[in-house]
């Protein structure tokens, strides 16, 4: 496990795509903040101006605005990282090692967690720069709440990357998994299902869908909301990693 993780980490640190994605994300994030400044409506919903938002509210605001760019970066990286190995066939060289099928999935999951963490770090930096430059705003909000928000969003985004990983593993196809990744990042499915549910049943089950939970503005002071958020994240991570491992164990490596 450790050795496979080392190998994946070595590959992670040496691929240019990862740095490129982070750089692009950082640039577009700052650019986005600039655009917000340019086209800011005088009064946002609830009478709050973007310039006055704390970092906590700013994150909540940006993540809830479709399309979620972070999800798209995550999808692209996940698919790239998995498919580059799959298409090269390199995995066949080590898959005969003891438990290698299981460990290779765990190692991919760990690398994805690392990438998501780096993405969040990049976001914090970009937000910090952008908000300071364009709104002269540096208020981060309550540190405890910020950590809770980051932790919950980290888990939700990681779960999303595992979802994309599963799709890439099972379809073994770059284009299909990329398209699926985009559709999921735009949350088309979540919104359609939500609308249908609203229309026909009146229940609220779709709010427990992973991406619906992810883009929802959270009430971080509310215990029930926190349980909902973390519950969905943890459940998704457990289910998706189980699926990924199970699939990998049975997979024919042709």
């Amino acid at each position: 496990m450790i050795n496979l993780l080392r190998m994946d980490f070595y590959r992670f640190t040496r691929n240019k795509i990862m740095y490129l994605l982070l750089l692009l994300f950082c640039a577009f994030q700052i650019f986005g903040i600039y655009m917000m400044k340019q086209y800011a409506q005088p009064v946002e919903e609830g009478g709050v101006q973007i310039g006055n938002l704390t970092e906590i509210d700013f994150i909540q605001y940006t993540i809830s605005q479709p399309p979620s760019w972070m999800l798209i970066y995550i999808a692209v990286f996940t698919i790239y990282f998995y498919m580059s190995e799959w298409n090269s066939g390199f995995h066949k060289n080590y898959i005969s090692m003891r438990q290698a099928r299981i460990h290779s999935v765990f190692s991919k999951m760990a690398i994805l967690a690392l990438f998501v963490a780096m993405l969040f770090l990049t976001m914090l930096i970009a937000d910090g720069i952008g908000r300071r430059m364009f709104f002269d705003q540096t208020d981060m909000g309550d540190p405890g709440t910020l950590i809770i928000l980051l932790a919950s969003q980290f888990l939700l985004h990681w779960a999303f990357s595992l979802l994309v990983l599963c799709i890439a593993m099972m379809t073994k196809n770059l284009l299909i998994s990329l398209s699926a990744g985009f559709v999921l990042a735009l949350n088309v499915i979540g919104m359609v299902l939500g609308a249908l549910e609203n229309q026909f049943t009146g229940t609220h089950l779709t709010q427990y869908l992973l991406i619906n939970t992810l883009v929802r503005v959270k009430d971080l002071g509310n215990m029930a909301d926190l349980i909902h958020t973390f519950g969905v994240a943890v459940a998704a991570i457990l289910i998706l990693s189980y699926l990924a491992v199970r699939y990998k164990i049975r997979e024919d490596l042709n």
């Binding site: 050795n3 005969s96 049975r250 024919d252």
Partner: protein, 308 residues
Amino acid sequence: MTDCIIELCGVTKMYRSKAAVRNANLKIYRGEIVGIIGKNGAGKSTLLKMISGHVYPTSGELHFFNRAAAGEQSFFERMGVLIEQPGLYPNISAYENLKLLAIAYGLSDRETTIEKLLRLVGLDPKNTAKVKSYSMGMKQRLGIAVALLGSPDVLILDEPINGLDPQGIVEIRELILELNATGLTILISSHILEELSKIATKYAIIHQGEFAEVISKEELQQRCEERIEISVEEAREALPVLERELKITQYKVVDSRTVYVYDEHIRIRQIVQELAQHGIMVDSISRHKQSLEQYFLERTESAGERHD
């Protein structure tokens, strides 16, 4: 040679409703070089993939050291595998590819191991070119290095000679023999029997997913050697004539009525004449000659009309 390390028991692999390998039974002993021979699409790669644990049999069982492999992935650990194209990252160098794998294996003295391996397969360790710029033969050599990196006990090579130049073929053949001499068991596939005849100790001819024949090197040689088969009333009586009058030294008495003569210079007519002069009647006599290729084609029923 008495340890059976791999045994296939009725192994079948179905792709949808089509069997790529059907009911394969084979025992592989320690130290053997097993040649798997078959035409395109015969099921060679599929067979090797199952043995190396890359794909799972639809039915039947694999046994390693007399124990079922199901659920015991660790048996596959001692194998070095090169099946179809070598699995290499195209955008990094040969050295980097091997380095990644060495990390996965947890090797400690990576640098020396990798350099030694690259030299062993005839590649330059200092070459920093990306693997995608490699020629097919160079990739193939690198693939062999990759298979050898974990210092395996069993080496599985699927058409390793593909794309190699004559020089390379000789080198790789020698390498295989060298490795075998150090105790490696080797499985190697090809669609040319001739190619394997110089190294394999056992042949499994596979045709449309089924083993047409499993035959040892000695048996095969016997079947394909050139000889004159003589059938007489009493073989014993013919021998002095053959030895003294015809100066034949290489012969074999197969049974009480049959003698095989291996001397190449002798003519059939001479033998018949000489034996008749000594009052020995020849019941039948024929020259037997079959090339390895003919032998193989016969087993795989694609020889078409043969004229010999």
